[in-house]
């Protein structure tokens, strides 16, 4: 860790900060039936391509079709549109993920057109789990979240409260919510409020 001095002020290294830094205390006060956890610093790149097969090797699975996500621990692909996927990774840096997407695509299909944009800071991630997780979502999300419609592997670009989100079904009572960074504080406030019935 390098500190340096300019004037009489000590400046730390350029340390990253998550959009929900400072919320952990309020999240921790929730019961086990509704748990919230900020998951900052997931690398994310937006990929536009007509040849999704080009990215299979990176994701480790075929890229998902509409309203689904796929992938493994390292890289996840979320369907955002007919030619658009969001790749996310909690392990790679934004530059690594962006570079890997470009290189994998180019290697697999040299002629494929591939637009790759680093959007790691565009959204932040919140994990919502617990027996009442779906109850919380259902107070502000219009899509059918009942397990037979929205299970593990499901993904939706939808509204939660009044905030646009990308919602991922991870398993029973387990969701990941991707939200625009500027809306993160609103969404955190909204989630805590929605969870208050089970406090």
């Amino acid at each position: 860790m390098v500190s340096r001095v300019s004037g009489d002020v000590v400046t730390d290294v350029l340390r990253p900060a998550g959009a929900l830094d400072g919320w952990a205390g309020r999240f921790a006060a929730l019961p086990d039936s509704v748990t919230l956890l900020a998951e900052p610093f997931h690398a994310m790149v937006d990929v536009r391509t007509a040849d999704p097969a080009a990215l299979e090797r990176l994701v480790g699975a075929p890229l998902p079709g509409p309203n689904a996500w796929s992938g493994g621990e390292r890289v996840t692909a979320i369907w955002l549109g007919p030619d658009e996927w969001l790749l996310t990774s909690p392990f790679l840096s934004p530059a690594e993920l962006e570079g890997a997407a470009r290189e994998t695509g180019a290697a697999a299909l040299p002629d494929a057109r591939l637009a790759v944009v680093d959007v790691s800071a565009q959204r932040t991630t919140v994990r919502l789990r617990g027996a009442h997780a779906r109850d919380v979502l259902e107070t502000g999300c219009a899509i059918d979240l009942l397990p037979r419609s929205f299970g593990a592997g499901s993904a939706a670009v939808t509204l939660l409260g009044q905030s646009g989100v990308v919602l991922l079904g991870l398993g029973p009572s387990d969701y990941r919510i991707l939200v625009r960074s500027s809306f993160a504080a609103y969404l955190a406030e909204w989630l805590l409020d929605a969870a208050s019935e089970w406090r």
């Binding site: 944009v117 899509i143 409260g161 500027s182 929605a194 406090r199």
Partner: protein
């Protein structure tokens, strides 16, 4: 007391105390306020809205037109129906004179909403609805069953037998079966109040009012937003009265309501009861009431109806002689007989409760046998079963609930809308005090449509929306017009079925959650620095940073001076940013911007203007060329989403052949303008490996670099006319980079400034803010930015409009500067501008334009303004007048660039270039 033993589903082992109109009474759990009042002999609940006539309870549930009360405790709420208010200990209420009063204390209760989806939604848990729900559940559907009563069973009284068992045993078993099914959700105390296209139903659940100790954090009311594949309307039927003279007195109610009060609450509504009916069902009510101890006389005009005790006559009037509370004491028959009584029960047949069928444009048709309007053609995506469908017998309801066609049952309802009497005292809508005379007046005024009659008479417009009066109004109108009621029809039912509080509709969207507040990555820093924020759309932006003792004017003058003489720094992260990628990126931007973008070189920046097809400016900003196939487009803060949509629309609908993709990166990048003659020192210290000289880093160029391993983009862009850099960094490192810049700028007196200072600095240079200095009718030429309109490009969005005669009119409003002759006078933004005068001519005064921006300038040492003025460019040097608060303020018209028009400051102070 009119409570009778052996009846009712109330808990007589416990007593609740409540207060009505200042008097204390007792009731039991399971009571409504109405049943408890009647049990205590309180028949007069309030007075009518226009005529001040005493009114009581006329029906037992939400169809009651009269029993409105103001509840004071436990929670103040106006105009609730006593029949639907659950009795709780300590309830305080009073009767109303037709109008309530909003609570003067804040509503601290919680209201929320809940979405759910199902294959089958059943509305109504009566016999038909229960069977429909059971049938759907057994088929494997996800089922939602809503019912507005506390318990299932609908109109069942408990005396019936279903499948060889007592009706209530059958109900309990069916509910138990449904409850055991994880795919079934039962919502009691929940009123479906609106039915919309594609199986969408809104329902209001009353969750806590019936509880003695409502749990904290549970919402008081919840609006369910239910999306169903199939909607089963099983909402029963409403009995309708017969209109007779003076039919509005306390003690007069619907026959089935009196029966319901007996069986549900053990309340006998009278000891000496007259039943006036044209329908067989009222005989069951009469028999039950007699069994419970009342003396009952039935008056039925139908020949051959009833037994020997029945009077074959009509009730033509009532009286309240000797009654202290104005309640009925006798009725008069058309044969002259006077029957003393303490209750008159009316039954003119039954109207299917088809509201929720009607909401989705289901057509009702008149059934002469039923004497009622019932659902006509089948409903798309739904069915109507049971009494709501006009099937009034229990066996038929059960069959329809199972999805079977019931055996036809003959009925002999005799339609009688009213009897003879004084029309001005024959009440049709008791809540509105509207009478047969009012309908006659409407018809005499030429109205032929029930919709017109409704609005003229206000019949059916009260809290009950005409549940008991609407069809009667149609019938009487038809009689007066001499047309069959089937050809006249009924008025349209519209949501809500029952009143819904605004608080419930608002749900959690109040206070902090009313509208999202968007914040930048630096928000915590702004708050700590004492920033005053302004709302820019949903964004919270730091407007200025007052020091102790400073007001906005002082703070902004200080911040402006810092940017002009030293160095300032702004959080500009809210600017919209769009990544444009692909081989045809330049082609797309050439077609979208008025100026050429494809000729921009990588590493360079260009300012651009965007127009709509009408040639009016919709946005502006800078464009960075990243590489041959990639640009970064900056939009205004407000333009971030709409401009991306604008580009996507052209790309997807008009030019799908272009190989371009667009991605919003607004929140990926934080952007900080570092502005002022000392900015070079700060940027030089921040990125010591970068040559920040003018020669190496000229105006309108950019480069990517790294600072301590963090990728950073530096761009020489100026929105102030000063030497300036924009520092862009990913949002993760925004706060750290901001703090680093402040630390490094400290020796140079770096001053954070807010949006207000940004506005002043740009206005001094005549840079317009799209949306403030423009209003959708302003062209690039009007703004004086025709230099940004390409003459070479074959086409671009808006180009053809520039040749329209109106666009070439020299008298168009154009952007100019205004200098008030009094240099200390700041013009209010929005002020109108007129010709120079010392006395306004008589109206209409010709207006020349208006002030769009107005500030006090530290750099100019005076006030100044920007304005849109007719023929403004040709008026430069002229004087005009701005009326301000009655005074006529002379102003001088100038060019829009008031500070450093030669642009000498752009590259910094000469000594350090």
């Amino acid at each position: 007391m009119s409570r009778v033993d052996g009846y009712g589903r109330i808990d007589r082992s416990r007593t609740l105390t409540f207060t009505f109109d200042g008097e204390q009474y007792a009731g039991h759990p399971g009571d409504t306020l109405a049943s408890a009042l009647l049990a205590n002999g309180v028949r007069r609940v309030g007075t009518s809205v226009k005529l001040d006539r005493p009114r009581g309870i006329t029906a037992a549930w939400s169809e009651d037109p009269t029993g409105l009360v103001q509840v004071e405790e436990p929670f103040p709420e106006p105009m609730l129906l006593a029949t639907t208010v659950d009795l709780v200990d300590g309830l305080v209420a009073r009767g109303l004179g037709g109008r309530g009063r909003l609570a003067e204390v804040p509503d601290t209760a919680r209201y929320d909403r809940r979405y759910t989806h199902c294959e089958t939604l059943v509305i109504g848990a009566g016999p038909a609805g229960l069977l429909a729900a059971r049938t759907a559940a057994r088929r494997g559907d996800r089922v939602v069953l809503v019912d507005d009563r506390p318990a299932a069973g609908g109109s069942l009284l408990g005396t019936e037998r279903i499948c060889g068992r007592s009706a209530f045993d059958f109900v309990a078993d069916t509910v138990a079966e449904l409850r055991a099914d994880p795919d079934v959700r039962i919502l009691p105390r929940t009123t479906a109040f609106g039915h919309y296209d594609d199986g969408f139903v809104l329902a209001l659940e009353r969750r806590t009012d019936h509880l003695a100790q409502p749990p904290r954090d549970v919402s008081r009311q919840r609006v369910w937003r239910i999306r169903a594949g199939h909607v089963v309307v099983a909402t029963g039927a409403h009995e309708r009265p017969i209109v007779v003279e003076d039919n509005d007195r306390p003690g007069i109610m619907l026959a089935a309501s009196a029966r319901d009060l007996l069986h549900r609450y053990g309340v006998l509504v009278g000891r000496e009861i007259v039943v006036f009916t044209t329908d067989d069902a009222a005989y069951d009510a009469a028999a039950d009431l007699e069994r419970a101890g009342a003396r009952v006389t039935v008056v039925d005009p139908r020949p051959g109806a009833g037994g020997s005790a029945t009077h074959h006559a009509r009730v033509v009037g009532t009286s309240a002689t000797g009654s202290e509370d104005g309640a009925v004491t006798a009725v008069t028959l058309d044969d002259g007989t006077v029957l003393p009584c303490d209750a008159l029960l009316l039954s003119g047949g039954w109207n299917p409760t088809a509201h929720l069928f009607s909401h989705v444009r289901g057509a009702l048709r008149y059934d002469a046998e039923l004497g009622a309007f019932r659902p006509g053609e089948p409903l798309d995506g739904g069915t109507v079963v049971g009494a709501a469908n006009g099937t009034f017998d229990l066996a038929g309801c059960l069959a329809e609930g199972r999805g079977e066609t019931p055996e036809p049952v003959a009925r002999r309802t005799h339609v009688l809308w009213r009897t003879e009497g004084e029309p001005a005292r024959q009440f049709v809508d008791l809540q509105r005090d509207s009478t047969v005379a009012d309908i006659a007046r409407a018809v005499a005024s030429g109205m032929r449509s029930v919709e017109h009659v409704k609005r003229y008479t206000t019949i059916g417009t009260a809290h009950d929306q005409g549940k008991t009066s609407g069809v009667i109004a149609s019938g009487i109108t038809a009689e007066l017009l001499g047309v069959p009621v089937e050809s006249l029809g009924t008025t349209t039912f519209r949501p809500p079925y029952t009143p819904v509080a605004f608080a419930a509709l608002a749900g959690r969207q109040r206070g902090r959650l009313y509208d999202p507040e968007r914040t930048t990555a630096l928000h915590a820093w702004h708050v700590e620095a004492g920033a005053v924020f302004e709302d820019v759309g949903q964004w919270k932006r730091a407007r200025y940073y007052p020091r102790p003792g400073e007001d906005m004017e002082a703070a902004v003058l200080r911040e402006c001076a810092a940017a002009r003489t030293g160095v300032g720094i702004l959080d500009g992260s809210t600017l919209g940013k769009i990544d444009v990628q692909g081989p045809d990126a330049g082609v797309l931007l050439d077609r979208i911007y008025t100026n050429m973008m494809s000729s921009l070189k990588p590493g360079r920046v260009r300012y651009g203007v965007m127009c709509g097809v009408d040639g009016m400016v919709i946005d502006d900003g800078t464009v960075l060329r990243i590489d041959d196939e990639r640009f970064l487009v900056y939009t205004t803060t407000g333009g971030a989403a709409p401009i991306l949509d604008h580009l996507e629309e052209w790309l997807q609908t008009e030019w799908p052949e272009l190989r371009v993709s667009l991605t919003s990166v607004t929140e990926q990048w934080a952007t900080f303008p570092v502005v002022g003659p000392r900015s070079r020192d700060v940027i030089g210290a921040f990125a010591p490996h970068v040559d920040v000289s003018n020669a190496a880093f000229p105006f309108m160029s950019w480069l990517d670099t790294e600072v301590d391993g963090v990728p950073v983009r530096l761009a020489r862009i100026s929105f102030s006319g000063e030497l300036a850099w924009e520092v862009s960094v990913d949002g993760w490192h925004a706060a750290a980079v901001w703090r680093r810049l402040l630390d490094l700028g400290a020796p140079h007196g770096i001053t954070p400034y807010g949006t207000e200072t940004m506005h002043v600095l740009r206005a001094e240079k005549g840079y317009p803010i799209i949306g403030q200095d423009t209003d959708g009718t302003v062209t690039p030429q009007d703004l004086g930015t025709e230099w940004a309109v390409s003459k070479k490009k074959p086409d671009f969005v808006g180009r053809r409009s520039f040749a329209r005669p109106a666009n070439l009119d020299p008298l168009r409003k154009q952007l100019v500067g205004l200098l008030p002759v009094d240099p200390d006078l700041k013009l209010p933004e929005g002020s109108q501008i007129v010709e120079l005068t010392d006395a306004l001519p008589p109206p209409p005064v010709p207006m020349l334009g208006h002030v769009t921006s107005s500030y006090r300038s530290a750099a100019l040492g005076r006030t100044f303004a920007l304005a849109l003025v007719k023929g403004g460019h040709a008026r430069i040097g002229e004087r005009l007048t701005v009326p301000v608060d009655g005074a006529l303020v002379p102003v001088e018209v100038t060019g829009s660039v008031l500070f450093d028009p030669e642009g000498t400051r752009r590259d910094g102070e000469p000594s350090v270039r």
